[in-house]
């Protein structure tokens, strides 16, 4: 593991929803160009943790966060960090595919144009094509770029959302159960895509489907009731976990 480069270092992260202590002093280092899967029973704080990594939790009024999330050497919870710019660098893909009700082209081009990454006419088309290619959906949509993104199938929509995220050129992509709303074929395509994307991005994904974590993740973190119980290479977790709780969870002895 020594050869892995740390991309995100989380230090003593605590989170409260009002009075409810949802994350209990987490410490974890997430590695560059790896897929890290967060698994654990429902309500254990996986999504909450994920949202801490791009400060999406700021949108929930009752949330209080303590501790550090250091990305590339900078704590994103520092006073002088603008959360909007954090979200620009740390992309996020959601459970339910949520393309904007605009054309496929605009879906991808929207954020880069707003951020001034490209200008209309200069480089925009290229960026859109490149993002759609990276998301493995270019061939399916290249002839219908002007049609609405919402007309695509669920799996295509999700890949469009990934393309949209990539277009902003983030370093990290967070995914919250990206395939749980999809059928098996689409799921497989997304999984294959994730394996492809990790060459360029650091991916953190939440999944309820243990088999999915097994299939695609390099590292797996097991959460339980707001604690990080075990974090190790996926193979290790699945063949030889050190914690009884982890073992019980992955063997299905508890939810």
């Amino acid at each position: 593991m020594a050869k892995n480069k740390v991309k995100i270092a989380v230090k003593d992260l605590n989170l409260w929803y009002g009075d409810k202590h949802a994350l209990h002093g987490l410490n974890i280092e997430l590695y560059k160009n790896k897929i890290t899967a967060l698994i654990g029973p429902s309500g254990c704080g996986k999504s909450t943790f994920l949202r801490c990594l791009n400060r999406m939790n700021d949108l929930i009024t009752s949330v209080r966060v303590e501790g550090e999330v250091v990305i590339d050497g900078k704590n994103i919870y520092d006073k002088d960090v603008d959360e909007v710019s954090v979200r620009k660098r740390i992309g996020m893909v959601f459970q339910q595919p949520n393309p904007f009700p605009k054309s496929i082209y605009e879906n991808v081009a929207y954020a880069p144009l707003k951020h001034g990454i490209v200008k209309k006419g200069s480089g925009c088309d290229e960026l859109v094509e490149q993002s759609l290619r990276s998301a493995g959906i270019w061939n399916e949509v290249k002839d219908i770029l002007k049609e609405p993104g919402t007309g695509l199938s669920g799996g295509q929509q999700q890949r469009l959302c990934i393309a949209r995220t990539i277009a902003v050129k983030p370093d990290v992509i967070l995914m919250d159960e990206p395939t749980s709303a999809l059928d098996p074929i689409s799921t497989e395509k997304i999984e294959a895509l994730m394996l492809e994307l990790k060459k360029e991005y650091t991916i953190i994904t939440v999944t309820h489907n243990m088999q999915q974590a097994a299939r695609i993740a390099d590292m797996t973190a097991f959460f339980h009731l707001g604690d990080l119980i075990e974090y190790d290479e996926t193979e290790k977790i699945f063949i030889n976990p050190t914690q009884k709780k982890t073992e019980d969870y992955i063997t299905g002895r508890f939810g």
């Binding site: 030889n240 073992e247 992955i250």
Partner: protein, 220 residues
């Protein structure tokens, strides 16, 4: 986990334990048979290890069913994999025991007592010991205890090895004086089986160790 699955796991474990104890009983009877070349005892030993391939096939089938239907993980998975290999070892060990008996029945009366008392009996004793400790590991849950058992198997198996080497060396020394070649060849071949059984016990022990604590699946 569904009771159905837990039961199946348990059943497999029991079946393996049963074959294992049968094997131990057979080898113990052989030991008794040594003392006065009691052919009846040898034949009795055989009855402990009848139809083993049927039984192991059955276990293998159950394991495959579990792998197919339940996709076990972690220690359950390691157990399944180990058991899958252990059935092979048990099968071989039983075959060796059978061959041992077959080979020895014909020659036992002709072997000089000293050789048997000095070497064959201790060797077979070690073998039985190795088997006993190995099979005991199936039902041991505590990690320290299982490690201890494993070490005992290791020691017993080493002893068996050494004793067999001694027998061989001894016989070789005497070989010039020996008239009937066939008898000694057969005897050596037969005694060699005992050493092989201990070998299998060792394999079983390391597979069970893997099942319990993970790490490398240790093969020799």
């Amino acid at each position: 986990m569904l009771a159905k699955y837990e039961n199946k796991l348990l059943k497999i474990k029991e079946s393996i334990f049963e074959i294992g104890t049968g094997l131990i009983s057979a080898n113990k009877l052989i030991l008794e048979g040594f003392e006065n070349c009691d052919i009846e005892k040898f034949n009795g030993a055989k009855s402990y290890i009848k139809n083993i391939s049927n039984k192991t096939n059955h276990i293998d089938r159950d394991i495959i069913t579990i792998l197919a239907l339940q996709s076990p993980e972690a220690s359950d998975l390691r157990a399944m994999v180990s058991y899958l290999k252990i059935t092979n070892e048990l099968l071989r060990a039983c075959a060796n025991t059978r061959n041992f008996i077959k080979g020895f029945v014909n020659v036992c009366s002709e072997i000089d007592l000293k050789t048997i008392n000095d070497y064959a009996i201790p060797m077979q004793k070690s073998t039985v010991e190795a088997l006993e400790h190995a099979i005991a590991m199936i039902n041991v849950d505590c990690v320290d205890e299982i490690q201890e058992c494993f070490n005992k198997v290791l020691i017993a198996e080493n002893k068996t090895d050494e004793l067999f080497e001694m027998i061989e060396a001894n016989l070789m020394e005497q070989s010039k004086a020996i008239e009937e070649f066939g008898k000694y060849h057969k005897m050596l071949s037969a005694l060699r089986k005992s050493e092989k059984i201990a070998d299998r016990a060792m394999s079983i022990a390391s597979l069970l160790l893997f099942a319990r604590i993970g790490g490398e699946i240790h093969q020799r």
